[in-house]
């Protein structure tokens, strides 16, 4: 049996670990709240953009914007949104499984250090890696979005797709893949924006026909579409952040619970060892007094 001193040392270290994981759980919980708040703060923007697009869609018959053009898909362009740090359960590993399922030629842009490391190991074609801060700003994501769009326009990639951990609820984050470019139609874009804004398609306000466009409807539409892509990517980065923090919170909670269980077992063992030592001592003393 281990000596009481060894057990005491173990107990101390487990207690320390529990304290750390508990603190990390609390931090992750508060960050998750913030990330969720940020994701919701994007709603008015989505709604307004949907309104503008639906006003435009009535006026512009067919746009020749390259985002809407159909083309043969040779190389897929994939934006992979991962975390910078570990300790968030199977979150990143699940995403990587999804990536490994992709057998067609593809080029990758990655957000987060973990994803960059993985793609380097998996020997995939990595175009660029980016890092965003915890409280991610729109301008940080814009750089990523514009880089990818540039690749798309130059023909280096024929699609733009997103792989990110979709935030279902605190316990469930689903690795998901979503095609972004080319867009199917302006109508789909509007429907998507409306669902992001938390309202149904029927809630669309009626537009009067005398709406004026400056410089003209087609130009405005062409300028609005890149903004939609930027927003879409930004929104998904926020979603991924919320997933990251909730996954970390759950992982830390499990770790904390495990530490508590372990602590119980160790305390029991310690008390047993202590009692055994005392019994032993009494036996020795009484044996010695009998002998005397």
């Amino acid at each position: 049996m281990a000596s009481t001193r060894d057990i005491r040392r173990r107990i101390k270290s487990v207690k320390n670990t529990r304290q750390i994981t508990k603190a990390m759980e609390l931090v992750a919980a508060s960050k998750m709240k913030k990330a969720q708040g940020l994701a919701l703060a994007g709603r008015p923007y989505a709604q307004l953009m949907a309104n503008m697009l639906s006003a435009l869609a009535d006026r512009v018959e067919e746009s020749h914007h390259p985002f809407l053009a159909k083309r043969e898909i040779k190389t897929r362009g994939i934006i992979l949104i991962t975390t910078d740090k570990g300790l968030c359960g199977p979150l990143n590993a699940n995403l990587f499984k999804l990536v490994l399922d992709i057998k067609t030629p593809a080029k990758y842009v990655v957000i987060g250090r973990k994803g960059a490391q993985f793609l380097a190991r998996a020997k995939r074609d990595l175009l660029a890696d980016f890092q965003v801060s915890d409280r991610v700003g729109f301008s940080e994501v814009k750089v990523v979005a514009e880089f990818m769009v540039q690749q798309f326009l130059e023909g280096a990639v024929d699609t733009v797709e997103l792989i990110w951990p979709h935030f279902r609820n605190t316990l469930v984050q689903e690795p998901s893949l979503m095609p972004l470019l080319p867009l199917t139609s302006v109508k789909d874009v509007i429907t998507d924006l409306r669902s992001d804004a938390g309202q149904s398609a029927a809630a669309a306000p009626a537009h009067r026909n005398e709406m004026l466009f400056e410089p003209d409807a087609a130009t405005v539409l062409d300028a609005l579409l890149p903004l939609y892509i930027n927003r879409e990517i930004y929104q998904h980065v926020l979603d991924a952040k919320a997933s990251e923090h909730s996954a970390r919170m759950v992982a830390m909670k499990t770790a904390k619970d495990n530490a508590t269980n372990l602590l119980g077992d160790l305390t029991l063992e310690y008390n047993k060892a202590r009692q055994a030592a005392i019994t032993q001592e009494i036996l020795e003393i009484s044996a010695a007094s009998f002998a005397a």
Partner: protein
């Protein structure tokens, strides 16, 4: 009938209030909006947006985006927007210097990066101009 003005960015709803008039910087020059304006959808430039309410003017620096006027509702969809009081002159100055330095040193930068930096400088310039004018 007063106008309602709403300014939203991807990050938040920056401004939402009833106002008397607003001046918006658009690609075709500044336009002033009064109640009863015809419905309009236009592109917004980097610049200063002037809101007048109860005879008091307030300024906001806005980045590129769009403005929609529909009836008595003015909605501005901007990439950034910052209230004049919230502009931190020092921080903006530093950011601008940094961006300018990068612009000066890198000749072989890819156009995307270049445009991003130029946008930064422009937006920073607008913020500075606005802050200084108000003093």
């Amino acid at each position: 009938m007063p106008l309602t003005l709403e300014i939203v960015t991807p990050e938040a709803r920056v401004y939402s209030d009833t106002i008397d008039t607003v001046v918006i910087p658009t690609v075709d020059g500044e336009i002033g909006i009064l109640p009863g304006h015809i419905p309009l959808l236009t592109q917004v430039e980097h610049g200063e947006l002037c809101v007048t309410k109860d005879g008091q003017s307030k300024f906001l620096a806005v980045g590129g985006g769009f403005a929609q006027i529909d009836g008595d509702k003015v909605s501005v969809l901007a990439e950034h927007a910052i209230n004049e009081e919230h502009i931190d002159e020092k921080a903006v100055e530093e950011a601008m210097k940094r961006a300018e330095r990068e612009l000066a040193t890198a000749k072989t930068m890819d156009p995307q990066e270049l445009e991003h930096l130029q946008g930064l400088v422009r937006y920073a310039g607008v913020q500075l101009a606005l802050k200084r004018k108000r003093r």
